[in-house]
Symmetry: C2
Subunit: 191 residues, 2 copies
């Protein structure tokens, strides 16, 4: 079977997420990435241009990967769906751990690297908008208070997920506690 | 006037916080720190041993620095005091920006550096315990709901501060919005 260009781009980006999750953004050297992805350095430059271009596409790719574990068929209760979407980011699976570690590392790097700020803000907005849409659906179904502003609640709850995820991944909080606190915050914000 | 040893240690640690906030943990080289602090490299090794020892003491020092802007005389309303203590971490002053940037960077580094995990957890606990104590005082004064569990609310609200602070410092959210969302979350959690 032929390996298509999108497949090859995706497998390079999967490898980039793994390298960042293992060694940080500083550890992402084109040579190491080529070895991890099993491709030539030339092919990486061909697809992504410079390192900044690679990091930008990696941020988008992390969002796409997250979509693969969050975008399952919505359950019948739209309020529960909001909770499900947020809690999926706090799971002890390799997939979530790798994705969240790489996402946190890219966020931390954006504090120092101006080139990453705009793509980070754009990728964050995609996620926040998805949660806001889920809250709006739950509100229309009557299972979220009418006083809640979906855009603000989504901004707040996703920032909380990031804060809790960092505590979990850096060993300051158990995953069980992070999940319990998030559930409580969702109830406090939406009910 | 004689410069005392604690003064000199503190000025080295202040310099370490500034270097980390400017260049990240990776930018913290003993040579650069010596230049920033205006001391010899030998003195840094003398006071802190290796780089891991320096990073551990820097984490504690960030907490001490935060105490200098949070530990002002408590106002008469203990519920407002909880809000004040949390909101002080989201302020556009050089002091808070430098402190929060260095703290976020050390947290991000702890995901990859096992040596930092225990000192990070210990420093985080000091801060969370301080907020939990303020919530307990407000609860005793009757201005926080009796159903609130101070330790859990403090864990949640400080993790939220970290999430919002990262969004602000990485340019994904305005400071005004971060502060407004935090105020709303405090009300939702405590009232």
């Amino acid at each position: 079977m032929e390996v298509t260009v999108p497949d090859r781009r995706n497998s390079i980006l999967d490898a980039a997420v793994r390298v960042i999750a293992r060694a940080g953004v500083r550890g992402l050297r084109v040579e190491e990435l080529a070895a991890e992805a099993g491709v030539s350095m030339a092919l990486i430059y061909y697809h992504f241009g410079d390192r900044a271009g690679l990091l930008r596409r990696t941020l988008e790719h992390i969002n796409d990967r997250a979509a693969s574990y969050t975008r399952k068929p919505a359950g019948p209760d739209p309020r529960r769906e909001v909770e499900r979407l947020l809690l999926l980011e706090l799971q002890d699976t390799d997939e979530v751990r790798v994705n969240s570690t790489a996402w946190g590392e890219l966020r931390a790097t954006a504090v120092f690297d101006d080139d990453l700020r705009e793509p980070l803000a754009a990728s964050t907005k995609v996620w926040v908008d998805e949660i806001a849409a889920a809250i709006t659906r739950a509100q229309r179904a009557g299972s979220v208070s009418g006083n809640v502003r979906p855009a603000e609640a989504a901004d707040l709850l996703t920032a909380l997920v990031e804060g809790l995820s960092d505590r979990w991944l850096s060993g300051s909080m158990t995953l069980a506690r992070a999940r319990r606190l998030l559930r409580g915050a969702i109830a406090a914000e939406l009910d």
